[in-house]
Symmetry: C2
Subunit: 139 residues, 2 copies
DNA sequence: TTATTTGCAAATCTTTTGCATGAGG
DNA sequence: CCTCATGCAAAAGATTTGCAAATAA
């Protein structure tokens, strides 16, 4: 039973359990937004028994502690989770293979301020998704 | 039993039923992205008995015929539907009252082409959501 | 030791589907 | 008439929850 993330859990005030460690490892391995089910299966495939409800609970806890983020894509029923990268990013979503690709850079410029002024809406953050076909699927 | 949308249904090859008419009326009244449940309740409140599964089926049909669009917001489990406006639009979502406001105008410019070039990704369309606080809630 | 975490099963919520009945053209 | 649409109830998929047992600190 490894405890690679012991220090991190300590810092954020969470007990260092084998299940939390395993879920964190899975998120590191998968390095893309994944469903709770996918994270559960990946964990099981790496010989860490866990129950699906525990995965959900751990993911919720991680979201609260801001170490992962939660997202929902258009016309997709499940919620996706990925490690927080603490940098501004957007996503490309392949309509064919459903792959999600993170990209940095942002075209918004001072658009948020324009919107704030024009619509009397105080912008906190934004999400931009570009849907299309990835290199492999456009062939 | 009114049939205000008879001509439209005829044109797109759908039978003109009281339920379809009622759902379309509800979408016109609500003029914002709403859940199937909300559309169902609005329809019932306007004295048109309908079953929730029929609402889902009608909404699916309308999506196929391109007279409405389907969307999912971040961290929200339910799918939302609204009339197609056939113009490019984005949405402001109030984090407090959950209101969704449609806006026109787009800050992307030639960003899609840049992404296509840089990431070898063929962009089909995009979604932009600005989260924050609306005029009523920022007070 | 004690509060926290986990596993299991059951509950919940949203959406879909099978099938018999009903209605539009 | 005959096909398509609807209602109902049941199924399905995703997520949450209650509770007793297990475990970290």
């Amino acid at each position: 039973m490894r405890h690679c993330h012991q220090k991190m859990f300590e810092e954020i005030g969470l007990k260092n359990t084998a299940q939390r460690d395993a879920v964190y490892h899975a998120l590191e391995r998968l390095h893309a937004p994944k469903t709770a089910e996918e994270i559960y299966l990946d964990t099981m495939h790496h010989n860490q028994d866990i129950s699906l409800s525990t995965v959900y609970r751990i993911l919720e806890t991680f979201v609260e502690k801001n170490i992962i983020v939660k997202m929902t894509l258009a016309n997709q029923t499940s919620v996706l989770y990925e490690l927080s990268h603490h940098e501004h990013e957007h996503h490309l979503i392949c309509l064919s293979c459903k792959k999600v690709i993170r990209i940095t850079g942002c075209p918004l410029g001072n658009y948020e301020e324009e919107v704030a002024k024009k619509h009397h809406f105080q912008v906190d953050h934004h999400q931009l998704y570009l849907y299309g076909y990835c290199e492999d699927c456009r062939k």
